[in-house]
């Protein structure tokens, strides 16, 4: 990993844009998520995947409630804003009425694995032809860093101050592995955004998931591990490493299921 610039003092030279990372399907230049947040990176790969399959004019997204929600007015595809946890059922209604469209959900781990676990499981079990995308940072980022169902053992959050303890808080749910077991799930994968290679691999997973939907093979799912330095209470620069070593050692990255795919 390259040297990280110190963030305790202002930079001696002004920041300079060296490359454009804004996908065409994002209408705003700036976002208001924290520096070092992994969610915008994951979202970029999702939007690029939609463009890659050429679906920008036949896509409907359904967004849950978390930090990523603020992108809702900036994403240039048709959207429905759902309640916390409820995006998969809303996506089901959308898809049944508009079967010709590509339908995705965008949810956090609190949204999908805590509040709405039953929604995503049944949507997968029905083999619903939608793609659910999970931004998994192991915390409720939006509320300020609270424990979720994916928080790993030992992880400190606002309501597991001494670290998640199995005896007291129970064990994390490995949602990707769980969904992969269901017959209705045609594609399941877990990616990460902690370095360039993992970002590229995540982009390929998202594209494969959308292609699975296009081919009508069944439910598709991509979990993306994302940094949340704010909710993890660590320096921004340590986010990628923490993601890779702490979260990534439990929620292991890779394709989990690929059914009848080409």
């Amino acid at each position: 990993m390259s040297d990280i610039l110190p963030t305790s003092a202002p930079p001696s030279v002004p920041a300079k844009k060296i490359a454009g990372f804004k996908p065409d399907l994002l209408m705003k230049e700036n976002h208001n998520l924290c520096p070092g947040c992994g969610e915008p990176v994951a979202l970029r790969k999702l939007l690029e995947a939609i463009e890659a399959v050429g679906a920008q004019e036949r896509t409907i997204g359904v967004i849950g409630i978390g930090c990523y929600t603020s992108f809702g007015s900036g994403i240039d595809v048709d959207l429905v804003q759902a309640l916390h946890g409820r995006a998969p059922s809303v996506a089901t209604g959308v898809k049944r009425m508009r079967p010709e469209t590509l339908v995705f959900t965008l949810q956090g781990d609190g949204d999908m694995v805590n509040e709405g676990l039953q929604e995503v499981i049944h949507t997968a079990a029905r083999g619903e032809s939608v793609t659910c995308v999970l931004l998994n940072n192991g915390v409720f980022g939006e509320t300020g860093g609270h424990m979720t169902a994916t928080t790993v053992l030992g992880q400190r959050t606002k309501n597991s101050l001494e670290g998640r303890d199995a005896g007291y808080h129970g064990y994390p749910i490995l949602i990707g592995d769980l969904l992969a077991q269901l017959e209705g799930t045609a594609y399941a994968a877990r990616g990460s955004v902690h370095d360039a290679a993992s970002v590229m691999a995540t982009g390929r997973m998202l594209r494969r998931a959308l292609e699975t939907q296009e081919k009508g093979l069944g439910f598709s799912f991509v979990e993306v591990l994302t940094m949340c330095p704010t909710g993890w209470f660590i320096p921004t620069a340590e986010g990628p490493d923490y993601l890779d070593k702490v979260m990534g050692s439990v929620h292991t990255v890779g394709e989990l299921k690929r059914k009848a795919h080409d």
């Binding site: 595809v77 959207l79 804003q81 059922s89 929604e119």
Partner: protein
Amino acid sequence: MTRRLMEGSEAMAEAAIAAGCRFFAGYPMTPFTELLEGFAKRLPESGGACINAESELEAVGMAWGAVATGARAATGSTGQGLSLMQESFSEITRAELPLVIFNMARGQGDYYQSTRGGGHGDYRHIVLAPADAQEAVELTQLAFDLADRWRNPVLIYGDYLIAHANESVDITPRTYPPLPPKDWAVDGTLGGSGESRTVNPLGVDKKSLGIDPEGLWNRLQEKHERIECEEVRVETGFTEDAELVVVAFGSVGRFVRHVVREMRADGLKVGFVRPITLWPFPSEAVAAAAHAAGRVAVLEQNAGQMIDDVRLAVLGAAPVVAIGGISTDRSGFGVGDLLNPAAVRGRIEGALSTGGNFR
């Protein structure tokens, strides 16, 4: 016009489909189950879909997604299942989506739930309360029109009798004045960038910089005030020279109408007011009848809920007494001893004989 003998639930499902409903999701619960069965049987053959949802939470979510695409869609349950759906109802109202909701209630204890809204925040649903299967058919069709016209959920308050009684009905599709185009719905075609849309409960569009809750809520309140002015529906009978007016809704209202006619035939000066819209409440009709008669009795199958709206309408100008009450058999499905003309007559005669003293 062709009349057919049909179970109320089946007739309501057919009426909804005749009105263009193409999506339904629900979770079985007595006495709502047959309505779900009706949709499950008939929607696929009409090119629609009916999903047996995992719970009422998913049912309302699915219907939310379907209406967001511009399709006519509905969900429903009994009051119990609707309790689970309330978070979504609040937000769907704020997203101004034309959802139709069926409450095949167990009795009339859900009056507050339907008219006050069991969910959070300031919102209103138009609530239609049919008295029999034929009216349920007509109000089902009207519900889809009103929902689209106002971009607001419409709830139909049914019950066990309406759901299960076989009655003669006519399901010819009604015609209504033209509706505004659904230029807010998402069909997926507007991305990158045909000016993509967002359907949301925050009152924002893709160009918004932030949210403006006060602006949104004021706009909704203004809409709800217009609905209050324009959509009141009520049936009254014998109120001109009545000495006592009885207010009742739904199936109970049907019993009251029947009993009042019988009592009139016997020379007793009673009248009735039957709210068809529970919200907006027919306050003017109730007030006018109360002023003329000088005495009001409210017969509802609950511990006293609609009586609040009656009292607000009458504003102290006449005494208002409750002559209904909780009445259910051991099934708990809301069909008790009160649903009987003799019992209803007994209650009304009791109110008549107490003269002006209602305490």
